[in-house]
Amino acid sequence: MKKNYTLFLVITSLVGGCEVKYKSVFDIIGPIMIGPSSSHTAGASRIGRVARSLFGREPKWAKISFYGSFAQTYRGHGTDVAIVGGLLDFDTFDKRMIDSINIARQKGIALQFIIEDAIPVHPNTARVRIGDENGELELVGISIGGGKIEVIELDGFSLRLSGNHPAILVFHHDKFGTIASVSNVLAKYLINIGHMEVSRKEVGKQALMTIEVDQTIDPSILKELEKLDNISKVTKIVE
């Protein structure tokens, strides 16, 4: 069964290990945000908002796990409030952020916060599981400072996005020719691939292509990609 998701994420950053992590002066002077912490509040809200955007709709429940510094200081920083604000699609400067947990409860969203003891690779790590009767999504985000975030895992796939460019996420069946067929479509529309990687859980099973491109991507191109063989879902991330 093919599902159609076209997602436009309003985030300034999803970063991978390559190149420099901070590309814009506005990563340093900015973002405009509700206090008190750029990493534990603004960054956390961005992690929540990416999850919400990838999920494509408001979830009915959310299980949020905090690791490292997030686990130790989430109450003081309002990390829980911020991540829920992100799940409600609030931007970093949205004044409703402060009241997000009440707003979520009023909407009937079941919230659960889990404080983890495990030591994460990055001190500011959150695992966000959200869902409703039609599906679930699990994402691991890290907040690297100044409000910038990276998504390092999506539905069990490791992920490395520089986020300084538009990106296409293609969930597909791990089969020969699939990558070529996707790149052929992009070539047809004169879209240049700047960075690309493939992650799979098992040989011949579900896999994820992460493709960063230099040009903006028209929704019609995503539809065309979805029609290709072995593709289950196509998602787009723009800055």
Partner: protein
């Protein structure tokens, strides 16, 4: 793209341009946006900073009750005219605290480079504004210069307290401000780098130990002292003093110190001031029980 302070200064000297101009041109190059768009976006940030300073000077209290009102105390003290430090320093101290008091009260601020260190750059800028009457364009240039130095720190070390301690946050912010002050006073790109190096050297090793995990104690006063540090270092650089350790190496040292700093002192609320008897008592009072 410049990756180091040395490259940034070299580009500025080679093209006989200011650091702020190099930053603006790089932003145009990387984002493909026009100069007007980029300046307009920075103007939005400047406007948010200005409003936060104004709000803080009007008096604000955090929900925890730990911080608020200190910016006002300094302003009143200044009015009496009996102060010991210079008026620019104290005005900057007051305005830096004003910003962080607003941040602690979950008000709207602009992260520079982070929220916890958001007071230093605007605090110094709006103190200089009173004294030097810069044009709006010069004020925007101040933020681009600060951004250029912060950009190098963020990409070569860290601007996260959880990753590098307070030296990475207030230390970076103070260094950025010092460089921007030098440019506003018509110092050379080299002097900007010296001011950044001198400032950051005096922030090395600063730990991140927020009481109750709140961005309040000691963050607000660290922003105050970061602003003072920046102004003094800028004056030293303008006087012709240079750092024996080049700016990029100071940044490198800051990164390594951050790596070797224990986790208890990196934004976990486990060590330092957070772990003092009073720190623990405040934590219990605010949250009912200790976090750990």
């Amino acid at each position: 793209m410049f990756r180091t302070v040395a490259e940034l200064v070299e580009q500025a000297n080679k093209h006989k341009k200011k650091i702020s101009e190099i930053m603006i041109e790089q932003e145009i190059d990387i984002t493909g946006r026009s100069r007007e768009e980029i300046l307009a976006r920075m103007e939005q940030n400047l406007s948010v900073m200005e409003k936060a300073v104004e709000r803080g000077l009007g008096g604000v209290q955090s929900h925890s009750g730990l911080t608020g009102g200190d910016a006002v105390l300094v302003q009143k003290y200044l009015e009496k005219g009996q102060f010991l430090a210079g008026d620019i320093i104290l005005d900057a101290v007051s305005k830096a605290m004003a910003t962080n008091e607003v941040n602690a009260a979950m008000g709207t601020i602009c992260a520079t480079p982070t929220a916890g260190s958001a007071g230093v750059v605007p605090g110094t800028l709006f103190a200089l504004k009173n004294k030097l009457n810069p044009t709006r364009e010069q004020m925007l240039a101040y933020l681009f210069t600060a951004g250029a130095f912060g950009f190098v720190v963020a990409n070569n070390a860290s601007i996260s307290g959880a990753a590098g301690g307070c030296q990475a946050e207030v230390g970076s912010a103070a260094g950025m401000a010092a460089a921007a002050i030098v440019e506003m006073r018509d110092g050379t790109p080299n002097q900007c780098a010296e001011a950044m190096a001198i400032t950051l050297k005096n922030m090395l090793g600063l730990v991140c130990d927020p009481v109750a995990g709140l961005v309040e104690v000691p963050c607000v006063k660290r922003n105050a002292m970061g602003a003072a540090n920046a102004i003094v270092a800028a004056d030293m650089a303008l006087a012709g003093i240079t750092s024996r350790i080049p700016c990029d190496e100071v940044i490198g040292a800051m990164y390594k110190i951050g790596q070797s700093m224990p986790t208890a002192l990196k934004e976990t609320g486990q060590g330092g001031l957070a772990a003092t008897p009073t720190g623990r008592r405040l934590e219990e009072k605010i949250f009912g029980r200790p976090i750990k």
